[in-house]
Symmetry: C2
Subunit: 231 residues, 2 copies
């Protein structure tokens, strides 16, 4: 049986562009677990209907089904305690939760605003109409209108990264001397962007840039080898 991981991809199976799936992929590598990656596209709802919902990541482990990237991380740490921990203890897990929430409520929306309109060009043909219409209905405007004023939104993203910048000027990873879940949570967003958008989100002299380089190199260059744009 083993682990199987349904992961969002674009036109090509190797174009992985879900921030949440990237978190799981990096978490699986961190734990050193073998897994079968199952490329999945937005409109393939029936393929994951067994999970009781319609989004990825979905992880199956033998008969066990786990959804939601945070829940998958918890599951992996509980089920494979002999492997390197994703959190590093109870209080570390509490703080990892905060950092995930910071990423999801600050970084992710700021990046969303910058790259959303770049996504359709990289989707599988069968996903394009679904993606555009569902997102535009939710936003109440076209993807292009939503992503207007790029310069202003890029400045805003860089400003919002200030705490990450300060922290990474003092230590190599969010989780200290070696990366862990908190790093994967944030890097997931950068991998998502890299997979679909040519936009340079970071200046080369930014401490966050240097950290992102380290994160792309981790696990034999897992992040760097994925299909995407130079950053």
């Amino acid at each position: 049986m083993g682990l199987a991981f349904y992961e969002l991809v674009g036109a090509e199976d190797e174009r992985r562009f879900s921030p949440y799936c990237w978190r799981v992929r990096l978490a699986l590598r961190h734990k050193g677990l073998e897994f079968q990656a199952l490329p999945w596209r937005f409109t393939e709802k029936e393929r994951i209907a067994f999970s009781g919902q319609g989004k990825v990541p979905v992880l199956t482990d033998g008969g066990k089904v786990v959804i939601d990237s945070w829940a998958i991380a918890e599951y992996l740490d509980e089920t494979y305690p002999d492997r390197p921990s994703l959190f590093g203890g109870p209080s570390a897990k509490g703080m990892a939760r905060f950092i995930t929430d910071w990423c999801d409520s600050v970084v992710l929306p700021a990046v969303f605003r910058l790259i959303l309109a770049d996504i359709p060009a990289h989707l599988h043909r069968k996903d394009v109409d679904y993606f555009r219409s569902s997102r535009e209905r939710r936003l109440g405007m076209s993807l292009e209108e939503f992503c207007a004023e790029r310069e202003r939104h890029l400045a805003e993203l860089r400003k919002q990264l200030a705490p990450l910048r300060h922290c990474l000027a003092r230590q190599p990873y969010l989780a200290g001397q070696t990366p862990a879940w908190a790093d994967f949570a944030v890097q997931g967003v950068f991998q998502w962007a890299r997979g679909v958008s040519p936009l340079h989100l970071l200046d080369a002299d930014d401490a966050v840039f240097a950290w992102r380089e380290r994160m792309m190199d981790a696990f034999d260059g897992e992040g760097r080898q994925a299909l995407g744009y130079p950053v």
Copy 2:
């Protein structure tokens, strides 16, 4: 000898209003260490000249002198490893650093903008001129001008607290099930505000409000008993 802690106070010795000193006070209580609190005022530079600089917190432990709240926390965890940890392991410490940086670059400036003009009324007479002139020189405007548009800045603070709010809707403390340094770092800012300003920073139905209540009750109500305003 034992521990001695130079701590910023206002007109009254019990009006403690430095966010950094509050972090240290809560950290000392967390570790269950006895200490002698030495009330200190801005203009008493000569009293702490032995530390090689002019700001508090300053902690002395026998012949050892430690400055800077983060460095003090590190010192306490290293020197008293048998007491409850302030961080909870290496990766927890890394993340605590991030949360401190988030607090210092996002929360603290937002609160600063709201309460700075309330401080002079609570200072010891000998500190008032020094405080006002040094701050106004730095800001390039009067404290009152800096703190104008309170409603707008209050809305901004509450918006910036979103990740904390999300996290605390899931778990009682930033550090999970029990408080630790990350909680003290943020609560230090609220204790500072409470010491000098009647402004209500949080709505009563905010998850951050409930957390702040728990934090004020911690250590036999250390935070709640300090001289200050109801929040």
